[in-house]
Amino acid sequence: MKKGGIPKFVIYALLIACCSIPLFFKIPIPNKPSDPSVDFYKTLSALKEGDVVLLGSDWTGSTRGESKGHMKAILRTLMRKNVKFVIWSSADPQSPRAALDVIAEVNAERVANKEEKFQRWTQWVSAGFYPNADVAINAVAQDVRTAFGSRRENDTNGVQQQIFKSPVMQKIKSVTDFDLVIDVTASKTTDFHVQFISAKNVPLMFAVTGVMVPETQVFYNSNQIKGFIGGLKGVFDMEQMMEKGINVKDANGKIAVASDKISGEIAPLPGVSVGQGTKYYPTLHVALLLMIIMIGIGNYEMISARKRQKGNG
């Protein structure tokens, strides 16, 4: 600790307070969803009942603050639209567990809301974890039936069967048969998806952490992906769009979530959609404000110290 500066203990106490107290208040934040988020939601909204999505879960507890929100928003959307999905991972052995926990959480939420539980085997299956992401993603792109061929799950009677016998995989002969490929990721799997999956002309989207937004933007600008959600802003965008739709007027004739990216409107998804993003995003603003104030104080202290040094010298 520097003499004359703010004690380290006070700074950390302030940080904890700024990252905790706003979580307990409803703080409205004006928001305009980013273009990639709008395209992400637009593509998800265009999915029809019975479509099949290949959903990569390449995140772990270390990015739970962002990736869990992404995963939850995507799963809520797929389940409400009755879209079937296949979960798989290639980044970390912990990733399948992270995905299964979120599926269980969303299913519990559906049961509490008197909605039907999304059934494993008939509505979704897990293709497990594959080490060596680049080789695994290439294998899926080249021949999904061979890549996932040895995976087995319990059918509705509790008998172990190959996942290709499940109703989810009925129409899947190659990766091009998936109606959409999404990767929720905190790692380089985005590059491998673009390298191998986008070459097959399958619609591809990402949900990435805040750090990865600048590099993912390049894929979006080059039309290599349909859209993406990034960081906490991505979670907040998704929750807002799911809750209020896009360019949809409320009872007072006001548009809650507006976007110039589309001319028409996209309807909200019925059901409770707000959660992690809506709670964390205002808190992030308070934390960032604290950081800006601290940078200001730090610079002021530094300039004052220099002046004092000059005066003494």
């Binding site: 203990f9 950390y12 940080l15 990252c19 905790s20 979580l23 307990f24 273009d35 270390s62 990015t63 739970r64 603050g65 962002e66 869990k68 991972s89 052995p93 912990q94 399948p96 567990r97 497990g128 974890f129 594959y130 080490p131 680049d134 080789v135 040895s150 995976r151 087995r152 172990q160 190959q162 590059d191 673009v194 390298q195 191998f196 986008s198 070459a199 952490t209 805040g210 750090v211 937004v213 600048p214 390049v218 600008n221 080059s222 039309n223 290599q224 960081g231 906490l232 110039d260 990216k261 589309i262 001319s263 028409g264 992690q276 964390y280 808190t283 992030l284 934390a287 960032l288 950081m291």
Partner: protein, 247 residues
């Protein structure tokens, strides 16, 4: 197990999570033994989990079952065993020869196989990644439509492709300028003496710095969201919901 018992275990698990969170974050204040304990627990858990998960989630189905075959509970053989899969074991085991002074040349064999696979994949994937990006880098910078400032993405594709509005032209110009100036910054093969090119070069450097700043800003925001998530876990998921049974 009764639902109440499950809830008790879940509360204990969440409590352990809270302790681990506080323990691991305590290093921010200063290095301490409490942090060290949880660091070692975390490393042990991660290593143990990974070892089990690699077997249950991966190796068992994509290697062992193929090697030994799959027999249903009814006795029916659904997949015959293929003995050739055993050949993967010596190839993989050669990797460990790196620890032997006499036989460490063997470790180069699996490494060579992996490098060969990777190189082959890169040749295949280079154009997939960079082709569309290069194509997209060649953007028109002269507007063709003066009546609209922006064009919507769901305009008819044939119209969207030929309509360059003012806003698009400005964005495109900024993009092309950034692209060329940053590329010029990496001209190391000869000394740049031309003043205009030198300034263009400097502009590239500054634009790179802006890019790095944006990346750093995103990183800071990400780190904050991780702290916020931990705080939410401690206060809401553990204290409010599990201990005080509120919400």
């Amino acid at each position: 197990m009764k639902p109440e018992q499950i809830e008790v275990y879940r509360t204990i698990a969440a409590g352990a999570g809270v302790l681990a969170t506080i323990g691991l974050l305590s290093v921010l204040y200063k290095e301490n033994k409490f942090y060290r304990v949880f660091e070692h627990i975390f490393l042990g858990l991660a290593a143990g989990w990974s070892a089990v998960a690699v077997w249950t989630e991966s190796l068992r189905e994509i290697w062992w079952d193929k090697l030994t075959g799959v027999v249903e509970t009814t006795g029916a053989v659904t997949e015959p065993g293929r003995w050739a899969y055993i050949l993967l074991v010596p190839i993989g085991a050669m990797g460990y020869m790196v620890f032997s002074r006499k036989h460490n040349w063997m470790a180069k064999i699996p490494m060579g196989i992996l490098l060969g696979i990777w190189s082959g994949l890169q040749i295949q994937s280079f154009w997939t990644v960079y082709g569309p990006q290069m194509k997209q880098g060649m953007l028109p910078i002269i507007p063709t439509s003066f009546d609209k400032f922006i064009v919507r993405s769901d305009a008819p594709p044939e119209l969207a492709a030929v309509t360059i509005t003012w806003s698009q032209a400005i964005s495109n110009f900024l993009f092309v300028f950034t692209l060329l100036s940053v590329l010029s910054y990496f001209l190391f093969s000869f000394e740049v003496k031309n003043r205009a090119l030198k300034n263009f070069n400097v502009a590239g450097r500054y634009l790179l710095m802006i890019g790095f700043g944006a990346i750093f800003g995103s990183t800071v925001m990400m780190r904050f969201s991780l702290v916020i998530d931990r705080m939410y876990f401690i206060w809401d998921e553990f204290l409010m919901k599990r201990i005080l049974h509120m919400g």
